[in-house]
């Protein structure tokens, strides 16, 4: 599957973007266009997931996947936190922030994985979209609790800044991408296959092509992030590859154990392996402004994202197939 992956246009566009940034080309995707594509992709996968659940109904699998996803979201950051502090010698604040990223999920990695898995016959269940939306938030809570528990500096400054807590919870729960994913999921569920039909053309015709152009932009962003950073040590770079492998393997194994089909188990692995670069960075700027964005963005966008796209997805698919 690795070879299929590396010659799929979706991935080739990612590589093109990465390459263009490395040779310092001025190629750029306007930010409004990138945002538009991400809104389109989220609406499309939300809708499709909802329509699928409307036709299959709620199932035990769905419940098991949702519960596992949320629990993994809460617990995976703990392991990450320990490794970040011991192996990479990060302070508690930075370690908490990075851990939150690795416990949460990347929508684009998810979408790319769906495409690649479907193309190789491992089509995941539609409800995994809902699971993904649920997994965006828990890790933020664990990450913050860890940072607060282990940082003296933070405890003091917290007492001054009282309004922070409620604001953050609100910000995280009403996060645009969560609302859009869940909202589109519910709309798809209410509309069903029949109601979806008239609007389907836009969301199916364009999907893979838009994903190509979006990954072109992600390649540019990932490489630029990596080139510009001055904060990445060798141990951080190592963790940015080891963490997705560990988390992804755990996710795939859990998915298999709770009885998901191989495609869905692989996707659960991909969700665990992926690191957030939208919802969590914004939440961290707000809740842990002292944490260094240079570290968490370079790790999640610059290393983990490319690793998952190029190798991780194939790896977890192989594990899921082997176990399933």
């Amino acid at each position: 599957m690795i070879l299929d992956t590396l010659t799929s246009p979706v991935i080739l566009f990612f590589i093109l973007g990465f390459f263009a940034a490395c040779i310092r080309s001025d190629l750029a995707i306007p930010e409004a266009f990138a945002k538009a594509m991400s809104i389109y992709l989220m609406a499309a996968i939300g809708l499709k997931g909802g329509v699928e659940v409307a036709s299959t109904g709620f199932s035990v699998d769905l419940a098991a996947a949702a519960v596992s996803g949320v629990l993994l979201g809460f617990t995976l950051p703990i392991l990450a936190f320990i490794l970040l502090r011991s192996f990479a010698k990060l302070g508690a604040i930075d370690a908490g922030a990075v851990a939150a990223h690795y416990g949460s999920v990347s929508v684009v990695t998810f979408v790319t994985a769906i495409e690649l898995l479907t193309a190789t016959g491992l089509r995941p269940d539609g409800f995994m979209v809902g699971v993904m939306a649920l997994m965006e938030i828990p890790a933020i809570i664990t990450g913050l609790l860890l940072a607060r528990a282990y940082s003296k500096r933070l405890k003091e400054s917290e007492e001054a800044d009282t309004e922070g807590g409620s604001n953050l919870m609100h910000e995280v729960l009403t996060n645009g991408s969560v609302i859009l994913l869940l909202g589109a999921f519910i709309i798809g569920f209410i509309a069903g296959a029949e109601g979806f039909a008239p609007i389907e053309p836009l969301f199916s015709v364009g999907f893979k092509g838009v994903l190509c152009l979006f990954l072109l932009d992600m390649g540019l962003i990932a490489a630029r992030r990596l080139l510009e950073t001055r904060k990445i040590t060798i141990s951080l770079a190592t963790l940015a590859i080891v963490l997705p492998i560990i988390n992804g393997t755990i996710g795939t194994v859990v998915g298999t154990l709770i009885g998901l089909d191989p495609g869905s188990a692989a996707i659960l692995g991909v969700l665990c392996a992926s690191a957030s670069y939208i919802a969590v960075p914004a939440a961290m700027r707000l809740a842990l402004p002292q944490a260094d964005p240079g570290i968490y963005l370079a790790m999640s966008l610059g290393i983990t994202f490319p690793f998952n796209i190029l190798f991780g997805i194939s790896l977890f698919a192989a594990i899921a197939k082997f176990l399933g």
Binding site: S38, S157, R285, L297
Partner: protein, 103 residues
Amino acid sequence: MVATVKRKRIEILVDNPLVPKIVNYVKKVDISGWSVIKIASGGGRDGRWQQDEVSGAAAKSIVLLIANEEKAQRLTDALAPLLDSHSLLLTIANVEVVRGDRF
């Protein structure tokens, strides 16, 4: 010749996710309004960056405020503790505001 008053022009360079937080402080010290200008790109000790809405967390804006000296002072006092932790850049300049008694 039209009358002018002396006011302070405050610019606060801040990460986008923190703009609402700054605005809360602006309201607390009772400044009449604010305007936000997007920064397209920039660079500093952390290397250079470009606006990208995919991960908008690292993008920056300028919050622009016109206020009288006393309110400007209260705002900077209120924001001072955040300057380092939130890496804000806060500048204050003198301006003449035409018929600006309401600021």
